[in-house]
């Protein structure tokens, strides 16, 4: 399929010029989902009526010349940990399987105000905890290129729906790599913005100081447009940045001359599969041919990033998930005599294993006597990681590495060993720890599965990431994957 066909911006132009309508495109998306989702399982719920009603409204507006954004009329998938008023927001958990949200997340509201059309809520690892979408209470999503393989996680459904071309764009969330890793595994573009760029209000919290919402797309262009629509201060989120938001489409310039790339040694050696390494090396060559330069640098603090993350994220999560107690809006056990029993049973029935594991670790590292040894230490390690990034960005414009050590793995491959599973995140975690923006762009294939490269930028410098990603997509040619579809 040609690049143009995968560009939401191009498709939107067709609507705005009257060559097609939003209703038509929305119906096509719904049809594609109906035809393929029994196999891919990218969606927990499909909001067909809502979508078609909105599409009709939007068509009316567009006809009248009221085009609210460059992407007006385009169907979009929404990860099921993002609140959309009147729809079930389950976070792929039994705990919230019937929860209807009475309000809409700010980021989603901005998408709605821009006249995009939400078609459904995408599958994910329960409460965003996982790297494979195997931990969904609603059965896993499959990698559209090979059903025996995972799409990645936790935003597996959001990545797969774009990869399977059910829709061209979707929203996910990223705490330790949950947008970038599935983007790499599914051969699509995934962005985690600077922490605070996009409001977290209405994003069901996993780890408050790490979570960010971000877009999936086929093109870097679409990613830039989506970020522009969602970014900006939100008075409902005290951690949302007050800085002005640049027009990100201005960064879509095919010119990387003079840009200095740093490649972390720790992510460019034996910790990475040789095919993935080769693919990323090739991407570096492409950049050099376009006038950029690169150097291998040592980023020692990366070695501690995984451990630090697996203390901080579960600690915050253990508190964030305490509200799920069977009292006000969650699953409640049918048999309990006393309050403590009711809460304990409801939580034990409502949460899956991975969630329980993380709550237990989180509770443990914060408990009396252990704070300094674990949480306090991890917070210090976090500062060391941030300082190291600052140091590297003093001399370089962007940091490039593989997004993941391997291509997608098989279902069940890491079931018995959580630590093995966590190692998938070694390249993505550091950017969350430092709050920096990071973009995953497809850069190759191996054995029928996609490979992604990751670009990490300075705080607030998504523009450089878009420039680098856009230029790459104009010049690199990656083999087309047929996929299972």
């Amino acid at each position: 399929m040609s690049k143009a066909k995968l560009s939401a911006i191009e498709l939107a132009k067709k609507i705005h010029q009257g060559e097609t309508t939003s209703v038509e495109l929305t119906q096509q998306a719904l049809d594609a989902i109906a035809a393929t989702d029994d196999r891919v399982n990218a969606y927990i719920s499909v909001t067909a009526e809502l979508a078609l009603d909105k599409a009709a409204e939007v068509d009316k507006r567009i006809k009248a010349g009221d085009i609210r954004s460059p992407l007006a009329g385009i169907p979009i998938g929404i990860k099921d940990n993002l609140c959309l008023k009147g729809t079930k927001t389950t976070c792929a958990s039994t705990m919230l399987k019937n929860f209807v949200s009475p309000y809409t997340a700010t980021a989603v509201q901005r998408i709605l105000d821009a006249d995009l059309i939400p078609v459904g809520k995408c599958n994910m690892d329960e409460f965003a905890m996982g790297s494979s979408t195997e931990h969904s209470a609603f059965s896993p999503t499959k990698n559209p290129f090979n059903y025996d393989y995972v799409p990645g996680g936790s935003s597996g459904g959001s990545a797969a729906t774009v990869a399977a071309r059910q829709v061209l764009v979707s929203l996910g969330s990223d705490t330790g790599g949950s947008i970038r890793q599935p983007a790499a595994y599914c051969g699509v573009v995934g962005l985690k913005p600077t922490y605070g760029r996009i409001s977290r209000y209405g994003l069901v919290a996993f780890a408050s100081s790490l979570d960010q919402i971000g877009p999936f797309s086929h093109t870097v262009e679409d990613s830039a447009h989506l970020l522009s629509l969602m970014a900006g201060h939100d008075p409902h989120d005290s951690t949302s940045l007050q800085q002005a938001v640049p027009q990100f489409s201005d960064a879509l310039v095919d010119d990387v001359r003079g840009l200095k790339i740093a490649v972390p040694a720790e992510l460019f050696g034996e910790s990475i599969d040789p095919e993935v390494l080769a693919s990323v090396k090739h991407a570096l060559d492409v950049y050099v041919s376009m006038g950029a330069t690169y150097e291998i640098v040592s980023m020692e603090s990366f070695k501690a990033a995984l451990a630090s993350y697996y203390v901080i994220a579960p600690a915050e999560a253990s508190a964030n998930l305490a509200r799920f107690d069977g009292v006000r809006y969650t699953h409640r056990t049918s048999e309990a005599e006393s309050l403590k029993e009711m809460i304990t049973r409801s939580r034990s029935e409502g949460f899956g294993d991975e969630v329980k594991r993380r709550i237990l670790i989180g509770t443990f590292v914060l408990s009396a006597g252990y704070y300094d040894a674990y949480y306090g230490k991890a917070l210090k390690a976090r500062r060391v990681i941030k300082n190291e990034f600052d140091r590297v960005f003093h001399d370089y414009d962007v940091i490039l590495s593989p997004t993941t050590p391997t291509t997608a793995f098989k279902f069940g491959q890491h079931s018995d060993n959580p630590v093995q599973m966590y190692l998938n995140d070694i390249a993505t975690i550091p950017a969350n720890m430092a709050g920096l923006p990071a973009l995953s762009v497809p850069c190759g294939v191996h054995n029928g599965l996609p490979i992604g490269m990751q670009l990490v930028g300075k705080a607030l410098d998504e523009a450089t990431l878009f420039r680098m990603g856009y230029a790459y997509q104009q010049h690199a040619s990656i083999p087309e994957l047929e996929g299972a579809l």
Partner: protein, 487 residues
């Protein structure tokens, strides 16, 4: 060894609900008394994805409280999560302040039977209130079959004021809480009502042998809802703990509940393990920074403190201790007094104070009203005090005029006119009347001439009757004596 060999060591934690229109972290209304669960938002409900946003007015009020209690206001303070499960705590954690609170190192001076003492204040921090549990099937939590959760109160802004363990008696404890109440009411930061719960006190008590430096094990007493309860709870605990120590048993560190009906404390801990709150800095809120400019602005906004007012009342107005106490304890009355003072033209502050704390206060109490919603204006009272001062009305007449002022917009002078005029003090007016009365009672006149000056009272009564009580008594008396001379 007996009770007398022991001393009390008390520290008090006072929670004050701040007088903000909306809650600490979301714009839900703080009005109470309405249907349950009607003043809540997705934030109080702890819906997934909800986030806290700080109320700037709550910050201002908290800083004012800190300034009024002589604290060091911290430039940077940090919010923390205090984690535990309870149905009135929707998030499963309370947003509070732990190791970096807003205020440190303050004090409150109290006066117990003429002895002044300084009680240290360790810290003041901001935190959110929990909701309410209404227990069903029994009068209290024990024996209830189930409970209903009402989150209207959840999220209300509170400050927690923690004292040093400097308090040594029930009387001091009472004076301390009364003093705090007076201050927070005066600076308009909190309603300060123990019975309604806008002010709550938890008492930490331990005992030790007199002369000992080390602290004994302390118990925390909750549910003291009146000043009397504070004293009774302390009395009971003193006896209970010293009895244990004298018997060689240990005092358990625990939370105890004060029961108003039995005036005893009972243990609240069953087989529960002690709470492990797992405090950590709140990631959803950046640190709270108070700039030098803000602090300077807040200092300018601090209203006159009760201790300063007291000095002014005593030195400038020569008010009695009782009058001062009444005017300071009732903030609305104090405001009314100030308003009247600004409106009188001749009456002296001391007389005004006497009238307001005496006659006016009595009528207000009778009407079961209070000074915050009076149906009489300060202008009317000011005019009334001036009328008494100039002799236009007598004290007795003034009472009647006052009654007519309630619920009426009519001016005092008009009311006096309506009543047939004010006090008559003009001798020329009265002389005729006196002459007539005396001539009609010559036998009494003879008695007076013979030296029984007391008999003048009878004649006075007659004059008063004849003038419908309007004659000025001292003028009448002098006239009677003068006329007697001439007869």
């Amino acid at each position: 060894m007996s009770l007398n060999d022991f001393e009390l060591v008390i520290g008090i934690e006072v929670h004050c609900q701040l007088k903000t229109k909306s809650k600490l972290f979301c714009p839900s209304s703080t009005t109470f008394g309405d249907e349950p669960n009607t003043h809540i938002s997705e934030v109080n409900l702890a819906l997934p994805g909800a986030l806290p946003v700080l109320n700037k007015e709550a910050v201002r009020l908290a800083v004012l409280a800190g300034l009024a209690l002589d604290c060091d206001i911290q430039k940077t303070s940090v919010f923390s999560r205090k984690n535990y499960f309870y149905p009135d705590l929707p998030k499963g954690y309370q947003i509070s302040q732990f190791d970096k609170p807003l205020c440190l190192n303050g004090h409150l001076d109290i006066d117990v039977e003429g002895v002044s003492k300084r009680i240290g204040i360790t810290r003041i921090h901001m935190e959110e209130d929990a909701g309410k549990l209404v227990h069903q099937g029994a009068d209290s939590i024990k024996g209830a079959t189930h409970s209903i959760v009402d989150l209207n109160r959840a999220g209300t802004a509170l400050i927690e004021i923690v004292s040093e363990p400097d308090i040594r008696s029930a009387a001091e404890a009472r004076a301390y809480v009364e003093g705090l109440k007076m201050i927070v009411q005066h600076i308009d930061v909190c309603d300060g009502n123990l019975e309604e719960g806008s002010l709550r006190a938890d008492i930490n008590i331990s005992v030790r042998k007199k002369g000992e430096k080390a602290f004994g094990t302390r118990a925390e007493i909750k549910n003291v809802n009146s000043f009397r309860s504070i004293e009774k709870a302390i009395d009971y605990e003193f006896k209970r703990q010293t009895a244990l120590v004298l018997a060689g048993e240990a005092v358990i560190q625990e939370t105890r509940n004060y029961d108003e009906a039995t005036q005893k404390t009972t243990s609240l801990r069953g087989k529960e393990e002690a709470h492990d709150y797992r405090y950590f800095p709140e990631p959803d809120l950046p640190p709270l920074v108070i700039t030098d400019q803000q602090l300077a602005d807040f200092k300018m906004q601090l209203p006159e403190l009760p201790s300063i007012k007291l000095k002014r009342y005593q030195d400038e107005y020569q008010l009695t201790a009782h009058e001062c106490k009444v005017l300071l304890q009732d903030v609305a009355m104090g405001h009314f007094f100030t308003a009247v003072l600004s409106q009188v033209t001749s009456a002296k502050p001391k007389k005004v104070a006497l009238w307001i704390t005496g006659e006016l206060n009595a009528v207000v109490k009778e009407k079961q009203s209070d000074f915050s919603n009076l149906s009489i204006s300060s202008q009317q009272i000011a005019d009334l005090c001036d009328a008494m001062d100039t002799g236009k009305v007598s004290g007795k007449m003034a009472k009647d005029v006052q009654v007519a002022c309630f619920d009426s917009k009519t001016s005092v002078s008009e009311i006096i006119a309506q009543m047939g005029g004010g006090q008559i003090s003009d001798t020329s007016e009265l002389e005729t009347v006196v002459q007539d009365i005396l001539k009609a009672n010559m036998d009494v006149v003879e008695k007076i001439k013979a030296g029984k000056t007391n008999s003048a009272n009878f004649l006075m009564g007659q004059v008063m009757k004849s003038t419908q009580g309007r004659a000025k008594p001292d003028v009448v008396l002098q006239l009677i004596l003068d006329v007697v001379e001439t007869l």
